[in-house]
């Protein structure tokens, strides 16, 4: 009955409860993306380790950033490749 009334008065979807949830979700995406430079450096190091198994990269020119736009956060990495390794990690392991 209550649900019916809520729907009749159009309160369900536009309720302030849902507005609050959505606003919080957005604001927290930004808050949480505010990571420390230390964390980004650690991430960079790990990335280099993993990628180096497959290709030779220019470590100095490597860029890693969190890009926050309106509704999403993206991890954007620019990794210049110097040379591909022909074998890759799996071949190395077998060999």
């Amino acid at each position: 009955m209550l649900d019916f009334l809520l729907r009749v008065f159009g309160k369900d979807s536009g309720s302030s409860r849902n507005v609050a949830k959505e606003r919080l979700r957005l604001v927290l995406v930004h808050d949480r993306a505010d990571v420390s430079p230390q964390l980004l450096d650690d991430l960079k190091e790990d990335l280099i380790k993993v990628i180096s198994n497959y290709m030779e990269i220019d470590e100095k020119a490597l860029e890693v950033n969190l890009d926050t736009s309106d509704k999403t956060v993206a991890l954007v990495a620019n990794i210049p490749v110097l040379r591909m390794k022909r074998t890759g990690k799996r071949a190395e392991k077998i060999g």
């Binding site: 309160k11 309720s15 302030s16 409860r17 609050a20 919080l24 927290l28 808050d31 949480r32």
Partner: protein
């Protein structure tokens, strides 16, 4: 060896001190030896909430600076043998104590008590860092408002960065009728957003104002719904499995009417 639990929130005014007083009193009522530590140096309040403001001689700064022995600064509660308060200093500021001193203090206190419960000041600066320095478990208090939940999220991040993993959440001042109406975030909404485990939910209750006025924690009032919520939380902290209370009971028009005409 006891356990050190910090009660924190980020945002001010969400009920950290009330929570500390009530959970602490609740644990003491269960027969545990408890000390409540007020780390809000410069803005002490736990003493008035507990009704112990007239008994303060020494404070936390006196203890950490060696002006007195720890036992001299501890105030014994009037109602429970096992309940003690270590008050904050009122005339100093947060820098009067360092995190290292707090760690040492907590280590000493937990030798004597089953539970060391630390009331953290609002904010994320030195006072917060002091309060969490010696803690092993953390409880985050929030209310169903965007500002409080946002700050709780930030605090949870800072706690995890400080190796205080898996903090427990208290949702304070929930109004079930407003949730039903779609005008307040629900328990599930908040848990969803913060992704932490729940310690308890306290319904909005006017009696909290009344009990605080008198300096008697709400857990001692058998009719107080918020007090019931705090009693449950004390039992959960002590390791009991207690289900969430029915928040909607007593909240509706009919039960209010019943109360008014003396049916309850």
């Amino acid at each position: 060896m006891g356990e050190v639990i910090v009660i924190t929130s980020g945002k001010g005014g969400v009920g950290k001190t009330t929570t500390t007083a009530n959970i602490g009193t609740g644990l003491a009522a269960l027969g545990h030896k408890v000390v409540l530590v007020d780390t809000d140096i410069g803005l002490r309040n736990l003493d008035v909430v507990l009704g112990l403001e007239n008994r303060i001689v020494y404070d936390i700064v006196d203890v950490t600076h060696g002006n007195c022995r720890m036992k001299q600064a501890l105030i014994k509660d009037k109602r429970f043998e096992g309940l003690h308060l270590l008050p904050a200093a009122q005339t100093k500021d947060k820098t009067a104590v360092t995190p290292d001193q707090m760690r040492e203090l907590c280590d000493n206190l937990k030798k004597e008590f089953d539970y060391v419960i630390i009331d953290c000041p609002a904010g994320i600066e030195q006072g917060f860092k002091n309060a969490i320095a010696g803690a092993e478990r953390a409880v985050v208090v929030t209310t169903p408002e965007v500002s409080a939940v946002r700050d709780a999220d930030r605090i949870i991040g800072l706690l995890e960065a400080a190796e205080l993993r898996e903090p427990k959440l208290i949702i304070n001042r929930l109004r079930p009728l407003m949730v039903k109406r779609g005008d307040m975030m629900s328990i599930d909404d908040i848990i969803d957003i913060l992704a932490v485990d729940l310690l308890g939910v306290v319904p909005e209750d006017e009696l909290i104002v009344v009990t605080t006025n008198k300096g008697e924690p709400a857990v001692l009032d058998g009719n107080c719904r918020a007090g019931q919520a705090y009693r449950n939380m004390a039992r959960r902290i002590a390791g009991e499995d207690v289900p969430l209370m029915d928040l909607e009971a007593n909240d509706g028009f009919v039960s209010k009417l019943k109360k008014l005409i003396g049916f309850k």
